[in-house]
């Protein structure tokens, strides 16, 4: 429903509520009519103001911007020949902003205790000659700011934050479940609305899908440890994401 749709319905409910209330009180002397009129007035007021809560950017434009961002990242990765999986870093390791580090070499060589020297696109994370990588923003980086409070540390708090973000605020899935066993975090999204265009293969291999990136960023932030996307398994309107804590 578009912004104007909410406004139209809100005004219609307010007008009909006022009409029903006035008619019931003044002409019909009907208590059920008056109660219905008040209910319609309250409902109309809420629907009317909810029209202002809809985003000013259209979903189509938001999708275009997302694909443009992914396309630019894919071109950069292809140009540099990078295929290693991104390491999602919490804000505490990354100068206050959670980001994804794409190492130039294989992620198996990356030390467990990471510390970014600078918050730059090309950043050094260790003293080794190949201890350099790309430090990029992902959809997860931006979504953390949408949470009303910070990310919790327990698995239950993480699951609640993920559910609120993906199923509530962003409205990307119907439900999200998160489980952790021996440093391996499994996130199962159900009711995933399929995007017509998936990100380019290079981005899928390194950064993962937007839903996986959100889960990885949230887990990294909650656990305060770097996280790698192990795998993504697509099902019928579902997505299973496996994350490994480093």
């Amino acid at each position: 429903m578009k912004q104007t749709g909410y406004h139209r319905i809100g005004v219609a409910l307010l007008a009909s509520g006022a009409g029903v209330l006035a008619g019931s009180l003044l002409l019909l002397r009907s208590a059920p009519g008056a109660s219905t009129g008040i209910a319609l007035l309250v409902l109309g007021a809420i629907v009317l103001v909810l029209g202002d809560s809809r985003p000013r950017v259209s979903p189509e434009l938001a999708q275009l911007l997302l694909h443009a961002g992914y396309d630019n990242l894919a071109r950069l990765l292809e140009e540099l020949g990078l295929r290693s999986a991104a390491i999602y870093l919490p804000a505490s390791l990354c100068h206050g902003t959670p980001r994804a580090l794409i190492p130039l070499s294989d992620t198996g060589l990356v030390p467990a205790s990471l510390a970014m020297a600078e918050d730059r696109l090309i950043a050094r994370f260790s003293d080794a000659p190949d201890g350099v990588g790309l430090l990029v923003s992902t959809p997860g980086t931006q979504t953390l700011g949408l949470l009303p409070s910070g990310v919790g540390t327990s698995t239950d708090e993480l699951a609640a934050s993920l559910q609120m973000l993906t199923a509530g605020t962003l409205d990307l899935v119907r439900s999200a479940e998160l489980h952790e066993v021996d440093g391996l975090v499994s996130v199962e999204y159900r009711g995933v609305s399929k995007d017509r265009e998936t990100p380019a293969l290079a981005v899928q291999q390194t950064v993962g899908s937007p839903l996986a990136a959100i889960a990885a960023t949230l887990t990294a932030e909650g656990r305060q440890r770097p996280v790698i996307i192990e795998s993504e398994t697509e099902g019928n309107e579902s997505l299973l994401v496996r994350l490994r804590l480093m």
Binding site: A39, I46, L146, G168, T169, D171
Partner: protein, 90 residues
Amino acid sequence: MINESLSVTDRYIVALSALLLGTSIVFAWSGETRTQVFFSVYLIEVLAFNQLSVMMSRRARACTARVERVLVVCFAILVLWEIVRIIGAM
């Protein structure tokens, strides 16, 4: 099927509509005639329902909070009116 195609805000509106209009049916069935009671019950329902709607975005919750404030002011006016009426009748 319908649930999957609706956004969080749409589902909130549908659920709130069902709650308020369902309550008006209960009022009609129970024979309640006091307008103040209608308004008070609807206000409590809206406040409680908004507290339970944790899935809504911050912007949407800020918008509904505006309506809540107006409803609470109306409720306070109703209470004052009742107090004046009771004192006047004494």
